[in-house]
Structures are given as structure tokens and as C-alpha cells.
């Protein structure tokens, strides 16, 4: 699939068929996430995949942002075990950006393999860490729900180029 085609055709999918996600597709998607850039190539990211339906139902209760029942959930975590000051490291913007880069690769790879996905940010961090058995220093940052789309929603409105794109300097149409 062409990269630009994938970028423009991808949608946030929240409603899935019960069809399971194959391990080949999962490996491709996680490899794509690993391939994303990270500051100093630190790669302080860990991906936990949950596919057991009972565990997904329980996970959904700790993540109010999870609306439907996906076939799989990927929990993207920051691994700060080797960082000297864990609390300080968690607020390092380059780490958050590296999570965002991995997320976008993951979403595009899911789309390219015929799956749908959507990031979920509403969850209880500590509750999730307890449920997943995360050791101290591994922080869940985002969940991604994944599965075969039940339907493809229409594209939401995006801002036009004229509103957000400037060349050389910021200038609005009335000359200010």
C-alpha cells in the first residue's frame, strides 16, 4: 500500500467484528511501531498485546475510553527502568514524542494490513499497571484497540491548508 494513500485513507475505528487478529499481522504492526524514531534512538517503549476476551473485557473496565470490544488491545508503555530519575524522565517531551511516533506507525501498519485501530487515552494508569503486572518504571502511556472494522466511518473534517500552513513567516489574510 502506498504510504500517502494509507495516511489519507486511515480512520479511527472503534467498532470491530469478533474476527481475531492473526499473529502475523500483530508482528508486522509491532515491528512498524518499533521502527518509529525516538530521541537518541533510546527506544524506551514496550508493547503489551492482550487478546484474551475475558482480559479485554476487564481491561475495558479500567479504560473508560474503550467503547467497543476489540479483538486485541496494544498497550504502549514507556520503559523508564534504566532512567535515573523516573518521575523527571516521564515528563521528558522527547519520550512522549517517541510514543506518538510509534503510535502513528502502528495505526498506519494496522490500516495497511486491513485492520482498524484507535488510540485510547482515558484509562487509570495505576489500575492498568496493577492489572497487567507492570513492574515499577514501566508506565502505560496509551492503549490501541485493534480488529477487523465493522464499518469504515466517513472522514472527519480537517482544517484547510490556508488555516494552518504558512511559508517563511506567519501572516494572516488581513495583513496582520
Amino acid at each position: 500500500m502506498d504510504t500517502l494513500e494509507a495516511i489519507f485513507a486511515r480512520r479511527s475505528i472503534r467498532d470491530f467484528t469478533p474476527e481475531p487478529v492473526t499473529s502475523e499481522a500483530l508482528q508486522t504492526i509491532i515491528q512498524a511501531a518499533i521502527a518509529a524514531p525516538s530521541g537518541s534512538n533510546a527506544q524506551k517503549r514496550i508493547f503489551i498485546v492482550v487478546q484474551n476476551t475475558r482480559r479485554i473485557a476487564a481491561l475495558r473496565s479500567l479504560a473508560p475510553g474503550m467503547i467497543g470490544l476489540p479483538a486485541a488491545v496494544i498497550v504502549i508503555c514507556l520503559d523508564l527502568r534504566t532512567s535515573p530519575e523516573e518521575a523527571q524522565a516521564a515528563s521528558d517531551p522527547t519520550l512522549q514524542i517517541s510514543i506518538g511516533a510509534a503510535l502513528q506507525n502502528l495505526l498506519l501498519a494496522a490500516h495497511a494490513t486491513g485492520l482498524g485501530a484507535c488510540p485510547v487515552a482515558s484509562f487509570h494508569t495505576q489500575g492498568l499497571a496493577i492489572f497487567l503486572g507492570l513492574p515499577e518504571g514501566i508506565i502505560p502511556c496509551l492503549l490501541v484497540v485493534l480488529g477487523k472494522p465493522r464499518f469504515i466511518p466517513t472522514a472527519p473534517a480537517k482544517k484547510p491548508l490556508t488555516e494552518v500552513f504558512f511559508q517563511e513567516r506567519y501572516e494572516v489574510s488581513d495583513g496582520k
Binding site: 475475558r54 475495558r60 482515558s122 472527519p156
Partner: protein, 110 residues
């Protein structure tokens, strides 16, 4: 078979309780209009559990279908507000019908 069903339902309800408490905590940090959506989502989850344990009445089955569509669509406050307004009116009408039917049956049985 029956005890397995009760166990499954208890697990489903346990998940719902966890969801509601997690949502209540999360809402301190989330946009105010999420509160309305979380309650709507909780209603959808409850209807889901009820549908596992037996057939929903035609009224609740339709409500579940409509709430599921609202939950799964993109967030649109105006549409959600309009739907909630309509559902409250329909629920009030259904509530009245149920109470009056029950009363009429009770009166006949006296």
C-alpha cells in the same frame, strides 16, 4: 449451567462496577462533557449485560441499538444532547405505560 451463567453475570457486573468507579475518578481530569458520555456508555454496557442474560424487551432492545450507534459514532455534542432529550421523553412514556399496565393488572386481580 445456571451457576456458570450467574458467575459470568457477576463478572460482567464486576467489570461494570470497575468501569463506573474508574470513570468517576477519571472525570476529575477529563473535559466536563465526557461525564454525560460516560453515563451513556455505562447504560450501553448495562444493556449489554442484560442482553446476555435473556431477551430485552422490544423497547430496551431498540434503546440499546440506538445507544450503541451513538457510542460508536464520532463524538458530537449537539447530536448526543438531542438523542438524550428524546430518550428521556421515550423512557418517561414507557415508564408511565409500565406503571399504568401494572396498576390495571393489580386492580383486576383485587
Amino acid at each position: 449451567m445456571e451457576s456458570k451463567h450467574i458467575k459470568n453475570q457477576e463478572e460482567d457486573l464486576f467489570n461494570l462496577i470497575t468501569y463506573m468507579i474508574t470513570s468517576a475518578r477519571g472525570l476529575y481530569d477529563e473535559p466536563p462533557d465526557y461525564g454525560s458520555f460516560r453515563l451513556l456508555d455505562a447504560t450501553g454496557r448495562l444493556l449489554e449485560i442484560m442482553s446476555h442474560s435473556g431477551e430485552l424487551s422490544p423497547f430496551l432492545a431498540r434503546l440499546k441499538q440506538e445507544i450503541d450507534a451513538e457510542r460508536e459514532g464520532s463524538m458530537d455534542e449537539a447530536r448526543q444532547r438531542q438523542n438524550l432529550e428524546r430518550w428521556v421523553i421515550e423512557l418517561a412514556q414507557e415508564l408511565r405505560r409500565r406503571v399504568e399496565t401494572e396498576q390495571a393488572t393489580g386492580d383486576r386481580n383485587r
